[in-house]
Symmetry: C2
Subunit: 515 residues, 2 copies
């Protein structure tokens, strides 16, 4: 692996530098767009929404023009023809050229008419979906979803997919580049089978953990101070970022020196605030770990949604739900969370943050059942795009799978197939990135433990910088040097597997549940 | 006056609508730029500044290109040639065409090289000024200021000025369109002479008001609730705006449905927080009073900095320092401001918010002495631009005028001629807009009192909607239909005069000081 720049003389070097300038200019517009979105979600007065949507559409158009500038295509061809730039596929130049090409081709493959139709359908689709969900009636959303599927098939056709693949692969490329439905299936199948067994065992426990911690009422101002304390402890850098409040927590990273996360608070759920905060901090620490000198170029960008999610999940789950973390955190709680938690034992708290309970709603799911929610969605969207599942049958198929995997009876569409916004926005191929995040998190963390056997001992002392530095060096600093699957092999020496996640879940949950 | 649109048939109408679309598109980019500036001042993490300056420069360039698009010039010529659009100079179309022309010509009159040099000098100028102020040494700033003056003279030459006028007029046009140095002098001279007399009398009082209120320590959270309560009472609309905190309070109005103001807090100065908040609310209420259907066109924009300042000053001074306002507010104070204010009498509070004290710093000046600070600056900048005052002599001239007008001895340059940022940014012709604000505020408010004799009685009951509606209808709804001087005549029936402001100050301050 070569981390330093390969030097090439003369005009191709000039072309490469011009290419990077154009890429940086386009990315800068995108970063402005991100701030406008963040502001809309977090700060904008309610009545500002109409004008804001025009501002965002205008800026998106200007960004699209910059990102599809014909000169980029010409400069890419020129750079690609110079082997001194591309011969080492891991060099900065080769990575930047490869990824700029990939994105440029994707952007220019769609006819303008299709892009506009997609924007329109996504906007109307979300609106229709929201109403249908409110009425808990899938039939209201069905005609719109059929239009969206038609468009997505056309979109897949424009992009194309590898021989032996399927249209779903072409759509997933936007979220998890290089990942195919076959890849997903290969790792999801063993995961599903062993998770079903684990869940059955846990649900049969005669001594499940107490839920007392999750029922405590804790003033929001106390919660706010507490999660800020934890965010600082794990190393989210407030000189280069901020935390605000929003209904749906998110991370908006415009560049490594301005990373904004949000969290949320409910008086009776400090566990949710803590989990959300550590999760988004994980995303934020990834963004802050990208290298300043590569801002605006692929070498300074995150690999994929799956890898991004691995960072958020690792801090939320491997760290934030570990015994070691709570050995440090539990004694700190009274000073931050008022007297409300005084009567809770260590086991009360550690058990409560690890409760497993099959339920209907994905975004409220625990660490173990979460992946089952994802599998249902993946199997259905793959089937729909391939034409194996009819849109009319979605509620039935959905409910069957929930019975089969989680052993629960979905009571209605709002708590069933209408719960997620993704399909209404035209996002198919997105869901598996959540489970990929869990899988990568577990596999990376096992390797980190191998490399640093005292990691848990450090957590017990409130020291998290060794893990953060390890992630900085092994994952963040590479930008897009490796694609997700390659990065996994590079870091852990092995292809992605369901085993580490299963070892993590079984190793932690069986003792807690005594099964 | 015609408030409805004049209709015209066929192609010119088409040209007018295209013109408006281009104007709105350009303004929309400017509104995005405003959000990016606001975010930088109020929310951005400290380390984001370097990238942000690039984002802002990029967006400013894109905005400049849109605002100087040759098509705008062509469409303007086409529209101007159709008398059905312009025959009624107060029609929506005529106003939009007139003002778009004015701004387009100004924007296209400066060579690119001069714009770039101005941006560079402004940036370096502020940096140099900040260092010189820190060291309280004008000589450090002098060479830079000379360069800035040279540039400003070139700029004035590019713009030109009316016969009988002077170069200062050309520069002031950016802030107070149509206002000349001769106009300023005509109203400033009588104001200055009578203010010197008033100040001498006040300072000779044997019974000045108590300063006790201004010495109270009040927790900032209480102050925050208090000023929010007042902001809501006077009618700042939080569905269409927000209040945040910044070192220097400001108002950022991107359009009437998204208006953002800031204020500031010091534990020992609730009066400053209240004054700042009411001041910025005045700016905000003006922006919120512009009409939604005219967003992005001159008919939906404020008239000038002077008129803007008249709105902020009116709420801050004519309302917020009136006996009637305090008759309502004084009894509310204990519930908002904790026990700290319980021992203060009504006269203690009303007197304290109206204390007059000649001092060195403009931004800390009271209602009466403020204008003297402005006059010093106006007289000096006019003289410099005209070549009548040498840059080398600024400190000496400055200190002489402070002795003459305020009877104080300026101790050093930091508290003297280096205190303001304006000149270092290349802003000359700006300062008088502050005093124009005070003058217009007084003249408009006298008229409002004429129209609504029970206005003060309403304030005593905490009712401010009659004044706000009056301002909405008489001033805000017109957008740029009238230039500032015309608006004054239209609203009050008289040209701008120093008399209303002097009547206001003398009528209020002499009784308080018993002179």
């Amino acid at each position: 692996m070569t981390t330093t720049a390969t030097r090439t003389a003369g005009s191709t070097q000039q072309a490469y530098e011009t290419l990077l300038k154009l890429a940086r200019d386009a990315q800068q517009l995108h970063a402005t767009l991100e701030i406008m979105h963040w502001d809309q979600e977090v700060k904008m007065p309610a009545r500002g929404v109409e004008y804001r949507s025009k501002q965002i559409a205008q800026l998106a158009r200007i960004h699209h023009e910059a990102a599809t500038d014909k000169r980029i295509g010409e400069l890419l061809s020129e750079c690609e023809s110079d082997s001194s730039l591309t011969s080492d596929p891991r060099s900065i130049e080769a990575v930047n050229i490869r990824e700029l090409r990939r994105v440029y081709d994707r952007r220019t493959k769609l006819p303008t008419e299709l892009i506009e139709e997609e924007a329109r359908l996504s906007s109307v689709g979300q609106h229709t979906w929201a109403r249908a969900r409110k009425n808990s009636d899938f039939s209201e959303f069905k005609p719109m979803l059929k239009d969206i599927i038609t468009l997505l098939r056309r979109k897949a056709d424009c992009f194309g997919w590898a021989p032996g693949g399927e249209p779903w692969d072409a759509l997933a490329e936007d979220y998890e580049p290089g990942c195919t439905a076959a890849d997903v299936e290969k790792v999801f199948t063993p995961l599903r089978d062993r998770l079903v067994t684990l869940l059955n065992d846990l649900m049969g426990s005669s001594n499940p953990p107490s839920n007392a911690f999750n029922a405590k009422i804790i003033p929001i101002e106390n919660q706010r101070q507490f999660v800020r304390f934890v965010a600082e402890a794990i190393g989210f850098d407030f000189d280069r970022g901020r935390i605000d409040i929003s209904t749906h927590p998110f991370c908006s990273g415009t560049h490594c020196n301005d990373v904004r996360i949000t969290t949320r608070f409910h008086e009776n759920n400090v566990n949710d605030a803590l989990g959300s905060t550590m999760h988004e901090c994980g995303h934020g620490i990834y963004e802050q770990g990208l290298l300043e000198q590569h801002i605006g170029t692929p070498m300074g960008e995150s690999v994929s949604l799956g890898i991004h999610e691995s960072q958020s999940r690792m801090w939320e789950n491997q760290v934030g739900r570990s015994q070691a973390f709570w050995k440090w955190c539990y004694p700190k709680m009274p000073e931050h969370l008022s007297g409300a938690v005084k009567d809770l034992s260590f086991d009360d708290v550690y058990g409560a943050v690890n409760i497993v309970k099959p339920d209907f709603i994905r975004v409220e799911a625990d660490e173990a059942t979460y992946n089952m929610h994802i599998m249902v969605r993946f199997e259905i969207e793959r089937g729909i795009i391939a034409g194996d599942i009819n849109v009319d049958d979605i509620p039935e198929v959905w409910n069957e799978k929930y019975k089969q995997y989680l052993n629960i009876d979905v009571p209605n569409d709002a708590k069933g197939c209408l719960q997620d916004i993704h399909w209404s926005m035209g996002s198919m191929g997105y869901f598996p990135t959540y489970t990929f995040g869990n899988l990568y998190a577990a596999q990376f963390f096992e390797k980190a433990l191998d490399d640093m056997p005292d990691l848990y001992a450090q957590f017990e002392k409130g020291k998290f910088d060794a893990l953060r530095t390890w992630l900085n060096e092994n994952i963040h600093a590479h930008g897009q040097r490796y694609r997700a699957a390659e990065l996994c092999e590079h870091v852990t020496g092995k292809p992605l597997s369901a085993d580490p996640l299963l070892r993590h879940l079984e190793g932690k949950l069986r003792p807690i549940y005594g099964v």
